[in-house]
Every structure is written in structure tokens, then in C-alpha cells.
Amino acid sequence: MRIKEHPILGPLVKKTVVKIEVDGRLIDAFEGEPIAAALMAVGKSIFRYTKKKGEPRGVFCAIGQCTDCMMTVDGVPNVRTCITPVKAGMKIKTQKQTGELRTAGQ
């Protein structure tokens, strides 16, 4: 959920809105904000499932230290979405295990 009004910070400053694709669904995001913020704004809370037990993980530290929020972004697995800025047209996938390596030609 976006915080549109804030008693200290004032109204939300309008930024450039772009479309990104999350698990095949198109959503609006602000260009340059962390991917994790854009996903949280539309209510997504599960970002990946762990390797051994397949347990769900979401955002934990939000400063790039804990790696809980890793997802597959434009085919690259294990991207820390809390510190990776949004670019128009990004394709983001909820990651299963440690992701898949791209094979030659892909």
C-alpha cells in the first residue's frame, strides 16, 4: 500500500510511472524505486521459496544484507530486489529454490 499522505513528509511526490511484469501480471511501479517497494505496494509478500524446504520468504532487512527478497529478474536469478531499481519493462519472477542458470542461446 502506498503512503499517499504523511504528516511529516507531506503528499507523495509524483514520479515517472512505468509498467513491470511480475509472474506474468503487469503492474505500475515508480521508475528507480527498489523492485521490492513496487511489489509491496501492490500487496505482494512472498518473493521466493527456499531451496531445501521450499519455505516462503519475503522482505526482511530491506538494505541488501539478508538475501531473503531475492527473485529472478530478466532471467537473472538471486537478484536482491530491495536494492535493485525498477526499470520499465522488467520481467520479475517469484524464485523457486536458487533459480535456474540460463543456457546458451537464451
Binding site: M1, R2, P7, I8, V59, C61, A62
Partner: protein, 362 residues
């Protein structure tokens, strides 16, 4: 490999302040930060700071951050963002990944101002989505303007727990309760009173027993603790929450200092294992300095003072300041830092710091 006089790791309040003081004296400074913006955690601090006027009391952290960025720009220090320092070799060489490319820097002096990392608390269900660090929540609500949930349980009643609870309310969330394992509230009464006036219960001698939810947090189970911190069976209560926020302290982020071979000491009053340093903030490895949370978990105001102190001491050691000039500048800062370590909360930190400095002299 580039050569500089002073390389600083971390552009938070300590690193920025050191860069400003050293660069003003004529030192060639490069300042690294792994983030896209300098300022460390200051831009998440939307509340007014404490202390006296000399410590910018009444000014919001976010404004202090903007002032430091302006000053560092004027000082001539070079700030490199998106720059991860991942190794320190032979006590004078740093390996840096900047914008995805690896480079090396050789520096006459190195200041580590890497800050701190949040402590975690493990309980059944703590890995569920919705369990987050207090810093994470501050980042999301105050910097990115996104609310991670609507009903929050706060774990920990230190100043961070109290302030973040208030900030969550400002952002539009409901704080259901704050729990504290100790029998008394950890933070300043002024913050706690504000929370209580808003109708949020602060439950002391209480902890979280379990987080319940399918994939993400839906409920929290609280339980009372006896005076030996043992859970008292039968005192469980359930709260409907979608976020559980952990605010149970910070630990110095010390990897580079370990790698450099600095001597460490365990100082619980200052957050645990940290590099032994002298009154100039120099560690047991000559030429390597520390400041800010890495030199002991305290407040941003203290980090600013320690950063300045290190910057001046380094400028002096490189002969950009005379001993007399440096002494005068350092004296003012040490006075201000001591004022920050006053009162029941500050005194134990001051004593711990003095012991640490004594130890460095041995």
C-alpha cells in the same frame, strides 16, 4: 590502482563527517558507499533529534542528512556510490566493486565507518513473510513510502522500537502492542509516553512465543516471562497482526576490521565485539581508523562527532593540520561527545568507551 590520502568505507553520518573535516584540511579523500545515495540511515530518521543545540537537537535526521550531503559536496571529498568494499589487504589496499566493475585503491589512511546490522530473534514462525527488521520497516515507510502491513506487533521497547512504532502510526498503520522481555521499558520516557498516549499497550516481561500464518504472518502468540526470562505456561494471548517488527538492537558491522587484523574487545554496553581504538579513533593496526556504530552502537549524533574526530586526527597524522590546530578542534568535539554520553543511558556507554581507550594504550 588509484592512490589517495584517505579512503573511507561507509557514507553514513560518521563517514560523511570524517570526509568533511579531512577534506576541509586539504586531505585527498575518497568515500565509498554501497548504496545509491549517501547518508546511511539518516534519511529514514524523520523524527527530531535529541541532545543540546550543539547536537542539532530539534532537527530531523533527514535534514541533518541533507546538510551533511551539502557540506561534503563543498568539501571536495570524492563520493563513490554503488561501491562495495569487499576486501582490505596489507592494511592499505581496498578492493572495490564500483558500478559492477572491480577496482583497487591504495590509501595512506583508511577509516572504516561501516555502521551496524540489525539483531534478529528466532522463534517458531520467524521466517514467515511479514516478520521484518525495524530498519527495513523504516526504509519502506519513510524512504519508499510503502506500508508493509496494517496491523503491527513491535518486539522491543528500546528507542528504535518506540520511534518506529510512532512512525508506523504516522504512516497509517495500527500498532497493536509493543512487547519487551525486560521488566521495564528500554527507551526514553518521552518516546514511550507518546506511544502510550496513542493507546498502544507496552507489555513488559512479555515476549513472542510464535508467529502463525500460512506463508505470511496472520497471528502472533504472546507469552509472559518470569524474572529469569522463562516463559510462563498458560499466559499466552493471541493478536491478529500482519507484520511483526523486530527492534532488538544492533551489532557493529565489523568484517573489514576483522580482515585488517584489528584487535577486538567484547563491550556489551556498546553492542558487542568491536575494534579496540584510541582517543583518535585509530585501531590497533596503525593507519586504520573506525568511527560510528562500528566503534560502538550509539546515536547518529555521536557518530557525527566521532567521524569528525577521526577526520581531524587523520588530517593531523598526514601533516595537514599542526598539533596545535588539531588539539583545539579535537577538544571541542570531545566535549560535545561527552555531553551525549550523559544521564543514566549515556553513562555506561561513556565508561565503556573510556575502558576501551585505556585498553588501546596497553
Amino acid at each position: 590502482m588509484r592512490q589517495v590520502d584517505l579512503a573511507i568505507v561507509g557514507a553514513g553520518p560518521a563517514g560523511l563527517s570524517a570526509a568533511i573535516e579531512a577534506a576541509k584540511a586539504g586531505v585527498k579523500v575518497v568515500l565509498f558507499d554501497e548504496n545509491q545515495k549517501a547518508g546511511g540511515q539518516l534519511f529514514k530518521q524523520i523524527h527530531k533529534f535529541f541532545g543540546s543545540k550543539a547536537h542539532q537537537a530539534g532537527v530531523r535526521g533527514i535534514d541533518i542528512g541533507n546538510n551533511l550531503l551539502e557540506e561534503v559536496e563543498k568539501s571536495g571529498a570524492e563520493v563513490m556510490l554503488d561501491a562495495v568494499v569487499w576486501a582490505i589487504y596489507k592494511t592499505d589496499t581496498l578492493c572495490v566493486t564500483h558500478n559492477g566493475k572491480n577496482t583497487m585503491f591504495k590509501a595512506k589512511k583508511i577509516l572504516l565507518a561501516t555502521g551496524a546490522t540489525e539483531n534478529v530473534l528466532a522463534f517458531p514462525g520467524w521466517t514467515l513473510a511479514g516478520v521484518m527488521g525495524a530498519g527495513a520497516i523504516q526504509t519502506m515507510i519513510n524512504v519508499h513510502r510503502v506500508l508493509p502491513g496494517k496491523k503491527v506487533l513491535m518486539i522491543g521497547s528500546g528507542n528504535v522500537g518506540l520511534i518506529v512504532s510512532y512512525q508506523l502510526m504516522q504512516a497509517g498503520a495500527e500498532v497493536k502492542a509493543i512487547v519487551e522481555a525486560l521488566p521495564t521499558i528500554g527507551g526514553y520516557a518521552v518516546h514511550a509516553s507518546k506511544i502510550v498516549r496513542c493507546g498502544v499497550p507496552i507489555l513488559t516481561s512479555t515476549t513472542i512465543k510464535q508467529a502463525i500464518g500460512k506463508e505470511k504472518v496472520q497471528k502472533a502468540v504472546l507469552i509472559n516471562l518470569d524474572k529469569n526470562f522463562k516463559q510462563i505456561a498458560g499466559t499466552e494471548q493471541q493478536l491478529d497482526v500482519d507484520v511483526i517488527c523486530l527492534a532488538i538492537g544492533l551489532s557493529p558491522l565489523s568484517e573489514l576490521a576483522w580482515m585488517a587484523g584489528c584487535e577486538f574487545a567484547d563491550v556489551p554496553q556498546l553492542g558487542g565485539f568491536l575494534p579496540v581504538h584510541n582517543e583518535n579513533m585509530e585501531t590497533t593496526v596503525p593507519g586504520i581508523y573506525v568511527a560510528g556504530d562500528l566503534a560502538g552502537i550509539e546515536e547518529a549524533s555521536t557518530a557525527i562527532e566521532e567521524g569528525r574526530l577521526a577526520g581531524i586526527a587523520i588530517a593531523e597524522s598526514l601533516a595537514f593540520l599542526t598539533a596545535g590546530e588539531a588539539k583545539e578542534k579535537k577538544h571541542l568535539i570531545i566535549d560535545r561527545a561527552e555531553q551525549l554520553r550523559d544521564g543514566p543511558f549515556g553513562l555506561s556507554r561513556r565508561q565503556a568507551k573510556e575502558q576501551l581507550i585505556q585498553r588501546s594504550l596497553k
